[in-house]
Amino acid sequence: MIRGTVHFKIEICKGCELCIVACPQESLGLSNKINLQGYRFAELIKDNCTGCINCALVCPDAAITVYREPKSALRKSGKEAVEVK
């Protein structure tokens, strides 16, 4: 499996949970903490992120940055992904 990870801009996350339901790996959950806006924000809750960017695509607040393993074998498709975003 491809290894990936996500970073959240937690200050702008609104805890809508759309990324959570969009993640095929069920890697995401809501934090018990709240941010300055008063929202419980999203966070990675499992170590199985593949960097598929689904969560980032559906995030209405553009709060997610996604990183992925640049396996030489996967490089090409990885590039593609960047282009399609």
């Binding site: 290894r3 990936g4 990870t5 996500v6 970073h7 801009k9 200050e11 702008i12 609104k14 805890g15 809508c16 949970e17 759309l18 339901v21 969009a22 806006q37 929202y39 966070e43 990675l44 809750i45 499992k46 170590d47 960097g51 598929c52 960017i53 689904n54 980032a56 695509l57 559906v58 995030c59 209405p60 607040d61 553009a62 709060a63 997610i64 940055t65 996604v66 990183y67 992925r68 393993e69 640049p70 990885g78 992904a81 960047v82 282009e83 399609v84 975003k85």
Partner: protein, 264 residues
């Protein structure tokens, strides 16, 4: 739980486009406007047309789009975005011009402007966010509100006998010769988001070629106006909006069709 979110050895594959400003969206949690904004600006960034793009957002929840989209923009009066966009495009025919309008704006008060702009084949992109409600003013019935849907001005559910059926304005638009590319997309899943983005891309490409009006309906949500959580709202949208407003292309340029578009 200790989660490894180190990026060591990983490569950046997705980030907030630089064509968005740093200002956080004022939209309610889960609102589809955010997704649409983001995709539009991604396309502007990727196509390298930030310097040549002018947007128009009228009153509606997205009235503050200019706080977020890092391009020259005009705010328009309620319903008049496509007239404003016409004015801009006519005097700057080489620039990319789009309007970004809600269903109240485009399909109620702005019906005449919408239809005539498309009929003239104004060479612009019209983005039509159909969330079936007046979001900004607090959840009143829109022309696209579904039968039986409860809003603050249809408290007993929209009754077609009193106010008519939800207006499929996109279907009407599609029969106009001035409309070059007409499609209906959504924001609910990663797959649909990709398709919507593709639609934005195509539209700007067509605009460059002076093809006429591109019209993209985005079936969207309004968790606040609908009184639902974002997740519920997306589900309700899939179950209720999509059957009435089926996603897919309503009008594709012939060559596109022949090429066999993978759209919808």
């Amino acid at each position: 739980m200790q989660i490894n979110d180190s990026i060591e050895g990983l490569e950046l594959v997705y980030q907030r486009p630089a064509t968005l400003t740093d200002t956080p969206f004022h939209y309610c949690p889960g609102c589809g406007h955010g997704v649409a904004h983001k995709l539009l600006m991604e396309v502007v960034e990727e196509m390298g047309i930030q310097e040549n793009t002018i947007g128009v957002a009228p009153v509606g929840c997205s009235v503050f789009a200019y706080h977020y989209m890092n391009i020259d923009m005009q705010e328009a009066a309620h319903g008049r975005a496509s007239a404003v966009a016409t004015g801009i495009k006519r005097v700057l025919p080489d620039k990319f011009v789009f309007s970004y309008q809600g269903d109240g704006d485009l399909a109620a008060i702005g019906t005449a402007e919408t239809i005539h702009t498309v009929n003239r084949g104004e060479n612009i992109l019209i983005v039509f966010i159909n969330n079936g409600i007046y979001g900004m003013t607090g959840g009143q019935m829109a022309p696209t509100t579904l039968i039986g849907q409860i809003t603050s001005t249809s408290p007993y559910g929209r009754d077609e006998k009193l106010i008519g059926y939800p207006l499929k304005i996109t279907d009407m638009i599609a029969i106009l010769p001035g409309a070059f590319y007409v499609t209906r997309q959504s924001v609910n899943t990663a797959g649909n988001v990709r398709k919507l983005k593709k639609a934005f891309q195509k539209s700007f490409e067509f605009q460059k070629l002076n093809k006429g009006t591109c019209f993209i309906e985005v079936v969207s949500n309004c968790p606040s106006g609908w009184g639902m959580t974002p997740v519920e709202a997306n589900k309700w949208m899939e179950e209720n909006m999509f059957p009435y407003y089926p996603l897919g292309d309503l009008k594709v340029p012939r060559t596109e069709k022949e090429k066999g578009s993978n759209n919808a």
